[in-house]
Symmetry: C2
């Protein structure tokens, strides 16, 4: 049998995937499983986006431009201008979801063996994209003790080597829900400038900022035009994760002309998803107000419930729809499996994502899990009850 | 400014893209440009596929399974069983077009520095995927003198090194339209077995076989289950290139479990495209009969016209909807630019793809161009008139 590549062997398996058989087994036993583990919102896709596809006039679903439809990119540039990001259609490459934007960015900017620094816990799939590009992730630990704020700039500087070529931030953050402040980003930008690094800024949760906080984008920083690559997606903004439409954006024209070669090789992003995404730009403000109110209510409810449980600490996330919460447990992987396999409460259980999968440093995240508040409040209320009961019953309880 | 990666610098620019400004300039001058250069058919997408999207009931466009919807994969396995390819849903990973299938296959099977042998001329984007994966393409030249038949097996054997890990074939072939015979594939399979190579078989034009010839798939070869990776796409079959739905298929379960890690990292293939693709499996036979009759008529017309031009030789392609044709010209890149820039016939001109872009060996393809017969007959007739006149007027004419 021919051999498997080293990269394939190195590709991390998702820490959630291994729990799937246990969730399926629980469902087979007739148990209700509340999925707190996923980033798939239950919010409806805007009607205007669904209708655009239903009413399409095309008789041939053709290839689009490799950078995405011109009409979509022009309107999308308008969306960015509306949030003070001054780009035009040619600064945008539409991608197969935010995932492909990250891969294109890594492939265009980094050589095998190069290093990127990422504050941990971080979105686990960055590991997979790093392996794909043959680069190394150097984690820098952010702590639940200060609600996962950006680590001090000196900490970044300590791990910079000649191989360091970039920093990846996710803002608002998945998995922590932390929203980086303008001050934090400006401090980071000085470092980026000093070492002439790339700043890969994943801002797919931009619309989900709470408590009156504004989103400050890496693209807002003057003088960093050649360093910043904005990674974006319509998945969360319009609750249409399945359309697979993202974007790689930069004002660095040289960089974008090279990235286009990767885009051309794979022909184009999905045409149907682009139709929906272009239409979604006209989503009425009322939709977002409703979504916003819904998430705020869920978050407030969940954070309060969690912090009232003995031995639990949940920061109040200011963005996205996740939180990383500290639990009185010995091992989050063991706990996440146990709760599906050996526990039920009124014939219900929950699935959570062990935080170990979001840390790169071995041993971290053992007493933390990521919870996504993507369920409606009644379900979230039941899930919190189940979780509280489970924490009391868990044999590995550790206060 | 931070540096660009070596891979990005090495990524080939499409030989067609550089002609685009000349085509646009010709259009600005009011000239009609016939596009013989592209693989975008003008055939309508099956109504059943379009309707499936228009009538969808989903209110949230969710992520699908990373391998693609179970229902789609099950029906797709049924499609393959219907053409004597005995696979099941778990042997299939649905991808973002055939492009991603190739990338996943290269990434899973090959290490940087590994070599794959590809008969040239070949689909130019294989070069881009090879650069992405960090592998080397070793071309083996097929010749217009025997209509681009598979080169002799001894020729393959001559260039096999310890680094050779696979062979890529495209059958029916883009760009040549050549249909490999069962005999050719069985000979190739002995070599694959002898050196325990991967056989990457790109069969996206499977439905386009003419003159009563049957398509023989690499998956039909017994005993090669662990070596063959089938690369497929709905783009051409159902004339819906823009849905971006392809597939990586193999009976090698170990291999597929590793490939799944790449699929999971990028979350999922497009949900809307999968709805269309699943519905398209019910396309009535009458649709294909009509498409088939249309392509046959176009091909016969075009081949006859071309072979009646002085100094032109066009093989009669038995598959796909391309041909590589020999022209009495000094330099196909120069000719392709000249015809757009400096030539018009009754205010019309044509765009062709210089064959140099499909050869890996420098200097080959200088007197060949690829022509796609994706235009309706009236347009094709005009395009042939233009081409004939252009060949007579071209300053670099070389009989």
């Amino acid at each position: 049998m021919p051999t498997i590549s080293e990269k394939a062997k190195k590709m991390p398996a998702s820490p959630i995937r291994k729990l799937v058989p246990y969730a399926e087994a629980a469902k087979k036993l007739g148990r209700k499983v509340y999925h707190l583990n996923i980033g798939q919102p239950d919010i409806e896709t805007p009607g205007i986006a669904l209708d655009s596809v239903k009413n399409m006039k095309e008789r041939v679903i053709e290839y689009s431009h490799s950078a995405g439809n011109q009409s979509y990119r022009e309107k999308l540039a308008g969306y960015y201008k509306g949030i003070d990001i001054d780009i035009n259609a040619n600064d945008i490459i539409i991608t197969n979801g935010g995932s492909e934007a990250i891969i294109f960015a890594f492939m265009t900017c980094l050589n095998p063996g190069d290093e990127v620094i990422i504050p941990e816990p971080f979105y686990a799939n960055y590991n997979g994209f790093a392996v794909t590009a043959g680069i190394e992730v150097k984690p820098i630990t952010s702590s639940i003790n200060n609600d996962f704020a950006l680590p001090a700039i000196e900490e970044f500087e300590k791990i910079i080597t000649p191989k360091t070529k970039g920093i990846v931030i996710c803002n608002p953050n998945n998995p922590t829900g932390y929203l980086y402040s303008e001050k934090e980003l400006r401090e980071l930008s000085l470092l980026v400038k000093k070492y002439d690094l790339y700043l890969f800024s994943d801002e797919v949760y931009r619309e989900f900022c709470y408590d009156g906080e504004n989103h400050f984008s890496a693209m807002h920083i003057e003088g960093l035009e050649n360093n910043v690559i904005l990674l974006d997606s319509v998945s969360k903004r319009y609750s249409m994760c399945g359309v697979r439409v993202g974007a790689m954006i930069s004002k660095n024209k040289d960089l974008m002309s090279y990235a286009m070669k990767f885009a051309q090789a794979r022909l184009c992003p999905p045409s149907l998803g682009q139709i929906a995404s272009e239409a979604a730009l006209e989503t009425p403000k009322a939709y977002f107000d409703e979504v916003y109110a819904e998430y705020i209510e869920r978050r407030n409810f969940m954070v309060e419930k969690l912090n009232n449980m003995e031995g639990v600490y949940c920061p109040k996330p200011k963005g996205a729809f996740y939180t990383v919460v500290k639990l009185p447990i010995d091992d989050s992987d063991r706990f996440a499996q146990w709760i599906l396999e050996d526990f039920e409460y009124n014939n219900q259980t929950v699935m959570v994502a062990p935080a170990t999968g979001f840390y790169s440093t071995p041993g971290l995240g053992k007493n933390e899990v990521r919870i996504a508040y993507v369920l409606k409040k009644e379900d979230l209320a039941n899930a919190m009850e189940v979780l509280e009961a489970a924490l009391k019953a868990y044999p590995g309880r550790k206060l």
